[in-house]
């Protein structure tokens, strides 16, 4: 083989240097365009390089950060642990991973998932460490939100089970036998279930009063088209108020279908409400359940689950005033519901 001329040697050196420079440029382009903070350390952990994003995020300079200077952007509650675990990796050569907050240029802390891997020569000796920090603040917040949601869901399920327990107990109290119990219990359970479907549509934020009443009375309207009138301005109920009001409507309608205006073809029910403009101390909604054209109903002092729920439970929960009377055409129920965090004008 013919020896290289001086000219060829020079050209080869120039090519190699150009390739190195190009590699260097490519490396920096890559290092500065990735979304992570990145850095390189000597085998003993002395950090000698950071990417641009590190400086942009922390608002620091290389002089601040070189070596072990990075500790100043760590949170005081975490820095000792972070240093101890890093130190172990430097000593053992095992990959490092940790999660901790880093201080942003404006003083705020964001959470980072951080990793470092050793680069080794062909004899297995560590040449340097490559490290990166990935911002996981949003991920952590999403985790936090999910945990809250699961807690909230669990709470709701437990309360719902207690509501079902209550319905079972109240139904058992007046039932004459098991069949009678089921006839009382099932429609109540289904009314509760329909209300859950309605509330789920709005992610358990609130429900519109008109929807709560229409949904609850729908099974009663099937056999009585046009006989149930529901009318009033837009009012929003919180989920527990919606459930309580729905159960109250369920009881009134059941009673109307058994004994009141919905027990005869010509009978009618109207549920209407408006804003109380009477100038009371607190703005409120006035709601009226009225049955007309019903059969003659003998006034009764019988107080069952329905009247207890309406006169006591609902009145208490919504801090309202309720009157429930049997007039000769059926039941008449008036509710004055003060506007609150549970009942609001839409």
């Amino acid at each position: 083989m013919r020896p290289e001329t001086d000219e060829q040697q020079r050209q080869r050196r120039l090519d190699a240097e150009a390739a190195l420079r190009e590699g260097d440029i490519n490396f920096h382009l890559l290092a500065d365009s990735i979304p992570q903070l990145a850095w390189m350390a000597q085998p003993d952990g002395w950090i000698f390089w950071y990417n641009k994003r590190w400086y942009d995020y922390t608002g620091t300079t290389f002089a601040d950060m070189e070596g072990w200077g990075w500790r100043r952007v760590h949170h005081p509650d975490h820095v000792d642990r972070v240093v101890a675990r890093l130190q172990r990796s430097w000593e053992t050569g095992s990959p490092w991973e940790d999660t901790f907050p880093l201080k942003r240029h404006d003083g705020e802390y964001c959470w980072f998932l951080s990793r470092a891997l050793p680069v080794r020569d062909d004899k297995g000796r560590v040449l340097r460490w490559f490290g990166s920090n990935t911002d996981i603040t949003e991920l952590r917040e999403a985790d936090e939100r999910q945990k809250l949601l699961v807690d909230e869901l669990n709470h709701r399920v437990k309360n719902t089970l207690a509501s079902v327990q209550s319905l079972a107990r109240q139904s058992a109290r007046s039932a004459t036998d098991i069949e009678d119990f089921m006839q009382r219990f099932e429609p109540r359970l289904l009314a509760l279930s329909r209300m859950h479907s309605l509330l789920a549509r709005d992610k358990w934020q609130s429900a519109n009063l008109i929807a709560v009443i229409s949904e609850t009375l729908a099974p009663f309207a099937q056999g009585a088209p046009g006989r149930i009138e529901i009318l009033g301005p837009a009012v929003l109920l919180n989920p527990t108020a919606a459930v309580t009001l729905a159960m109250a409507m369920q009881e009134l309608a059941t009673n109307a279908a058994k004994y009141g205006s919905l027990s005869v073809p010509q009978g009618r029910v109207s549920v209407t409400w408006n804003q109380d403009l009477g100038g009371g101390p607190q703005p409120a909604i006035n709601l009226l359940w009225e049955e007309t054209n019903g059969p003659h109903v003998a006034p009764s002092n019988r107080r069952g689950f329905g009247s207890r729920l309406i006169e006591q439970g609902l009145a208490r929960e919504l801090n309202g005033e309720v009157s429930l009377e049997l007039v000769d055409t059926g039941a008449r129920c008036r509710m004055r519901l003060p506007l609150s965090s549970k009942v609001a004008l839409a």
Binding site: D151, N154, H155, K158, S166, L309, G313, E317
Partner: protein
Amino acid sequence: MNDVSKPTRLRLLVLEDEALVSMLIEDQVIELGFSVVGPAATVKQALALCATEPIDGALLDVNLGGGQRSDPVADYLDKRKVPFLFVTGYGQAGLDPRFADRAVLQKPFALPELRRELNAMFLDPAAAGAQRLA
């Protein structure tokens, strides 16, 4: 003066915002031989009852809807050494840290569990110093 042969029933304040659940707890407490004060559905209603009714103990729901919690009522009772029990769907985790060591009954519960907790409330030597809020 009370007739010793007919001991006065212990009076329990019930604080629970959801109407159906409050009716259930009311029935259960009565079934176990206690008298119910309330039930109250809000902190305001509960504190008003505290101010006017004799109360020997309380069952307190934790979250009262609309963002309200029963903690002010627990504080009020605690200051007057009236024993109370939290009743909640969240379990221990939903309690304010200052009440973390308090008894909690997880909803839903059956009569024997409630009886056990109420026995602990009134028969426990620690509760011996408990006072009626009059």
